[in-house]
């Protein structure tokens, strides 16, 4: 069989040129995806990076930003970020499962016609109750660790700290040493036993 070479590959029958009027092209009226803007302090002000769905392409993001946000785009770079292998179960569920690789993420960096500078991060985090949040999460993780089967093998750090503080006080002399039975108010004078014998 003789292979036939054709210089110009044949286009599909329903192919529409990108220069065709909008009504003839395939339009997306009700998109259901979400894109997220990333903070990129290392990029010049005319660049912005987005997390986009995996099936997004460069033409898509150019058109999307132009129509939904009025942002003129000069060029686009894209990168698919492979995720690390993990055994954690998806969607933050409890326990471990098989080794699996989470779905990759796609990042796109666009060069815009006009510069945009990200707003500064807020200094005061009281609106998000940052301190309370981290105290709570630390307490929860400590509780979970104490419920594990091998929790008994771990040292009791709180008790160690208390012993250390007490020992320092005794050495300084600010606290007088009392044996445990005195501290508990027990009486070991076995007077009755002595009388019998």
């Amino acid at each position: 069989m003789v292979r036939r070479f054709s210089k110009f590959p044949k286009k599909p029958a329903d192919w529409v040129a990108p220069s065709a009027p909008l009504a003839e092209r395939k339009q997306v009226f009700l998109p259901r995806f979400t894109i997220a803007l990333m903070r990129t302090p290392f990029l010049p002000p005319r660049y912005a990076s987005f997390y986009v769905p995996l099936n997004f392409n460069k033409l898509d993001i150019r058109d999307y930003l132009q129509r939904a946000y009025g942002v003129g785009v000069l060029s686009v770079r894209s990168y698919v970020e492979q995720q690390k292998v993990t055994r954690l179960r998806p969607a933050g569920k409890f326990g471990y499962g098989k080794l699996r690789r989470p779905m990759a993420k796609k990042k796109m960096t666009v060069e815009m016609k006009e510069p945009f500078v990200w707003p500064e991060a807020p200094k005061d985090m009281s609106a998000w109750e940052q301190e309370q949040f981290h105290n709570t999460s630390k307490y929860q993780s400590d509780m979970q660790r104490s419920q594990r089967p091998d929790a008994g093998m771990e040292p009791n750090k709180d008790a160690r700290k208390d012993y250390e503080a007490d020992a320092k006080k005794l050495l300084e002399g600010s606290k007088a040493w009392r044996p445990t039975w005195q501290a508990l108010g027990l009486n070991y004078d076995r007077t009755t036993i002595g009388k019998r014998s």
Binding site: T34, Y51, A68, V71, E114, P119, M125, H134
Partner: protein
């Protein structure tokens, strides 16, 4: 050392005759050298003749960036003063466009991320009955309001996780859930309209003409006002 110098001398002299060498039992190394000398020796050189013409074909000979010699010749750019490097902190800030489109990814107060108090201050989703009364243009613009709000929430979520700001994930999730309900409602209403249009097409193909029926009924029945 001495042996090598003797060897070199013998080589440079173009190779002595065997008879001029001392006998091998006196100087065996001259007859059977164990190792060749690392110094290349020849009694004539071909490069000397080329170099002697005073023509150097390499234009960048003697030009070194390490020794800061500078170019040999005056370049076209030499008439302009060299720019001085600037520390990035010392650069003056760009004055960005206050009406930039990317502000749509931020809350209305233009902070980097929204507070939980702002996120939780939302109303109820659009009910299907309300959406049924809207035109396609209204529904479409409402859909894009939802899309932009979803993008804003995703951006705020990223920033909250990056800063480890604290609470706010649940509030953002609730807001997103209400948006999704509205979007589902819009899709439901459009689906209803599509089915209604299909049914109408079917009826029309079966010969149903509503205008004729109405006019026939009107002519057959007496007007209700007189009854």
């Amino acid at each position: 050392m001495h042996r090598q110098s003797i060897t070199r001398v013998t080589r440079q002299l173009g190779g002595l005759q065997l008879s001029e060498l001392p006998p091998p039992y006196l100087a065996p190394s001259l007859h059977f050298p164990l190792s060749r000398s690392p110094i290349q020796c020849s009694n004539f050189s071909t490069t000397a003749a080329v170099a002697a013409r005073g023509r150097d074909l390499s234009k960048s000979r003697g030009v070194s960036a390490i020794h800061r010699t500078g170019p040999k010749f005056r370049l076209g750019a030499s008439k302009y003063p060299l720019p001085k490097p600037v520390v990035p902190e010392g650069l003056e800030k760009r004055s960005p466009n206050p009406n930039h489109g990317l502000w749509g990814f931020f809350p209305p107060d233009r902070q980097a991320l929204s507070t939980p108090a702002y996120d939780i201050a939302f109303g109820r989703p659009w009910s299907i009955q309300e959406l049924r009364e809207k035109s396609w243009e209204d529904l479409h613009s409402l859909w894009w309001v939802c899309v932009r709000e979803n993008n804003r929430i995703a951006t705020s979520n990223l920033e909250r996780e990056r800063l480890k700001a604290g609470y706010g994930e649940w509030e953002a999730g609730e807001r997103k859930r209400v948006i999704n309900v509205t979007q589902n409602g819009i899709q439901h209403v459009l689906r209803e309209r599509w089915y209604a249009w299909e049914d109408a097409q079917k009826l029309y193909k079966n010969g149903y003409r509503p205008q004729e029926d109405d006019s026939q009924e009107a002519s057959q029945e007496p007007p209700s006002g007189t009854a």
